[in-house]
Subunit: 342 residues, 4 copies
């Protein structure tokens, strides 16, 4: 923590800052310059908000030097994390490795036939995961909220038939066991990125977690949320960019593709991209999926529905199986240009 | 739902839209204009996203006519809702009535002495509620997370001693009973505004709920979240504006004061304002509290700490008891200018 | 400028930063800590972007200590600036003094009758300035762009008849002389806040300038734009908050009321508020005008039209003369609560 | 224009809306539904803000059916626009054609040597345009503002030596002739996207214009600004995405890659991308350049400096010649994946 005092700050003001730093268990180094006195503190900086110093009398600026997260930082594991899953029938998959991993599936499970047809199509086109919502958080209580456990069963069954892994959203700690029984990987949706009770629960399990960025969350906040899971001992965390909220209304949210290289610089965790939720519009999904891979994404989440216009939920953002296959074909050409395969 | 077709849309495209509307149980009215064909649908519009139509071939625009929320809309109760609480020792308080209600307290419960001193000071200055965090959702797992049940006990005790009501945050459904035992009103924080499991749980209880707006949530989304609670039969919901996330960095978030008149127009629910969390800076709290009351807020949440510079959490945004008393004095002059008392 | 090196930064990396600082004419002070080496530079910090250091190898963080603006900073004139205007017939007015100054008028000059009726009404209700657009920057080339010089004449004439000052927008340097001939004060609209050719031109004149904040501009950028004018020798600058662009769509922009206390802290320049352009909706103008005064605004800009529903431009945000008179009545009660009059 | 009346709107309210529509020269079609009366108006919809109706009594919603821009819309020229330039020595280049066009150069002209070395390097690597700032709009008056005409001369000279076209920023109408004399294409920076005096001036010339999106501008506003130029008879307009302002602080602005497919859908004008200004950080430029091409960009603007760490301006976002050559190599692999060459 570095605190720069105002020009003309009194000795009393400087002492107050030193006292506060010491109380917070910082070792303080004082540097008296011609214009400004600068106080450097070495200590558990990550737990203190610089704002606490900025409001003190005589303080000009305050800068936190150390990252507020540790286990999620690139420094903790410079070589990067590869999340590996194995399952009889589905084989092995690595997220964060050389191959770009695609998760695909319908936004919501609606029926056995719908899930089965989707699973068949996405497996054929090269997806490794079936991702289909069984518990759906929706803005409105009047919207379809998912089939629950029956939905999870259908997803597992279809995935097994076509050799896919299953990644399922968990929206409350109380459902952890249930989702666990049917899934190979947990997903935390953007609305729950700061549900710390849930994150702590996921730190206790030993299954990978896909953690989606909140629509108004900075990358630092995303990594702090990952830290909650890592701190529990679960190191299998995969980040996911899914669009942030801005003033622009031509897409549902603004997909922050630069979050991909930012994540790779700040953290060792893999990062995937979800152009379906980010754009909310079918015709934007394909170009944004290509852009994500070109920017270095470790994987993609793509909504696919056998008949998008008839989908109960998020049909507007779902590709048809044909559109998905076409996208996968394009990605096969783009991935090598960034040293990857798909 | 009104769907405007593109100039030159084919009859097949028009029929596809009609079919989709009919499948969604809309009665359709077709109006063929010189330039555009317009389809009007009467039905359960609130469950369908207009985007589902916008991506269809031949569709120019789509407009949802009916509000997606019903119970939270002003039309449902044009005269407005007054949330009334009674408690022996604390008397009666009405939120949404003529008097502006102030909730105050330390950002986090730290010790018996701290809570007691704060309660005494805020009661004396005119606050009606003691609000103090016992379970604290924090961005970082390394930050102080609150005293838990022990904290709730201290708050209840101090509130009872000084004749105050208690409003406490609940961050997970599993804590509902615990928080209930010590509090007169629940608070849902901004991070949990879209935790639907929690909202549904709060719909089942018969105690008022203070629902804070998410930092990236529109007013429509806030009202949809309120709808989850109302739909469960709990009509005692109070909204709260606490700042939205923008590019501006001189304050922690940008307090959207216009949300106050917007809420009053769209909904019958009272709306309070939290300038402490919105601005994150002590010296901005007082002017923004005055502005909130001048704009018509039904109440205020103010962080007060006996020694803000020593606070474990959010000291930067806490007023001292003296600053709080001074603010209350100013509000006594402003409230009458908008036909209120405090 | 303070540059914090990464843990483990090499001596070569440190020397590269020192060299760059020295090349930029900084005197460098080096502090070697247990964990981080910190370099402090005293020099013309305001011209260097900290980002230039952040991208250098081995740099952890960089903090600019000195404000990038000087003449606009509070430190330059701690007692605050009062912009004073005098004119025969209109008397004297001070912006930044004890009295809150109101500028009012139609969004666009449409006809002699319209301007005259408006001027009469706003003068009677207590406004001191007539503000009416003669050159109107509009998003679309198909929208009404104002009457030009003929409009300026009508405004001057009406203002003189009713003892008002005139504040007029200037949208290009080439119109400076023309607008000067008819006006007592210049206005720079939000679209031109970063038109530096125009700002420099306004630095050369000796008439006050009302400088509106851009819809995506930080307060620092606003003050840097003011610095362009001040640097030319024109110290009569008044800032104006008029809403920033956010995701919220219930109002045209989000009025950042906290910009008012922020400006007062950072700068000695007065700050006014424009709730008409900020909200874009008539029914929100009155509560936001009250909130602005309660937060400490030095003045208000209010759109008033004799028949808002018939206005060619921005009728949606214009008050009728009756609504304006009612607002002024409310402000008479609020201003004293913050130690002001109106 | 479609106006939906509130449930229970009175006949008088309906007649008021009809009168306003008729006054605005709309032909009105009335449809009386069971719940809502809907008024459809055919007329010059693009000049009227729907907000003007939304504030009227009894109005529920209002929807503008026709695009507010005409000449910039895809409908005006469905086959798309290809902007073609020819120059002896530089040959022919087409923007919007099959080949992705790269403009590169130093953020600011500093010296003959600097420009010459950069021109040589970028020409060799495959750039077709030299883009180098001679007039630099800067937030601060203390920052380097460019060499002016001397800079333009250096750029022209270097471009001619290495067979490049020149694209130069114009920041005020008064400089149009000067910039014209040395350049093959004009650039309008993001700060001037809504400088309508300048845009109208550019409508009069017969040289292509690169129009950059404002940092807080919607795509609709960008296209309306293009309309100002097109309306003057200059059809050679190229759009450019350069990042929008959001809360995210890890990059200077958030590059809205989805603006590329959005522009291609809404408009016939080509769109380029500027990852240097968007991200403001060297290490993010390359992945975002790749992503832009993968998303379908018609061209790129890349800042290149022979010694980025020594640049007077924007060095943080400049690639070295080696990094630029490496980027071009990567793009050679990505372009074919989207059916383009580079």
């Amino acid at each position: 923590m570095i605190v720069v005092m105002e020009q003309g700050a009194t000795e009393e003001q400087i002492q107050n800052v030193i006292t506060k730093l010491v109380n917070l268990e910082f070792s303080v180094h004082r540097s008296t310059g011609v214009v400004h006195t600068v106080l450097g503190g070495v200590g558990p900086a990550e737990v203190v908000d610089p704002e606490e110093f900025r409001v003190m009398d005589g303080v000009k600026e305050c800068l936190r030097v150390m990252s507020p997260y540790k286990l999620a930082s690139r420094r903790f594991r410079p070589e990067g994390t590869v999340v590996k899953l194995e399952r009889a029938g589905a084989g092995t998959v690595e997220i964060g490795g050389q191959r770009v991993v695609v998760m695909a599936g319908p936004p919501s499970v609606e029926s056995e036939d719908q899930v089965r047809r989707t699973a068949e199509a996405v497996a054929k086109a090269g997806a490794r995961f079936l991702r289909a919502g069984a518990f759906r958080p929706r803005n409105s209580p009047y919207q379809f909220q998912g089939l629950g456990e029956a939905g999870l069963q259908l997803v597992r069954q279809a995935a097994d038939e076509f050799g896919l892994f299953v990644c399922s959203e968990v929206i409350d700690l109380s459902q952890l066991g249930l989702v666990d029984a049917y899934s190979d990987m947990f997903m935390v949706g953007s609305r729950h990125m700061q549900n710390y009770v849930l994150l702590r629960g996921l730190g206790e399990v030993r299954k990978p977690v896909l953690l989606k960025r909140g629509v108004a969350s900075t990358m630092e906040e995303l990594l702090l949320s990952a830290e909650y899971i890592l701190l529990g001992g679960n190191y299998e965390v995969v980040l996911c960019e899914r669009g942030i909220r801005t003033f622009e209304a031509d897409t549902r949210s603004t997909m922050d593709i630069s979050a991909i290289p930012v994540a790779h610089k700040l953290s060792h965790l893999p990062i995937m991209a979800d152009p379906s939720h980010a754009t909310g519009r079918r015709d934007k999904v394909t170009p944004m999926a290509r852009a994500s891979v070109a920017a270095g994404a470790d994987g993609l989440l793509i909504d696919v529905h056998p008949d998008p216009d008839a989908a109960l939920v998020d049909g507007a953002q779902s590709l048809s199986p044909e559109q998905f296959a076409e996208l996968m074909g394009q990605l096969h050409n783009i991935a090598p240009a960034v040293g990857r395969t798909i």
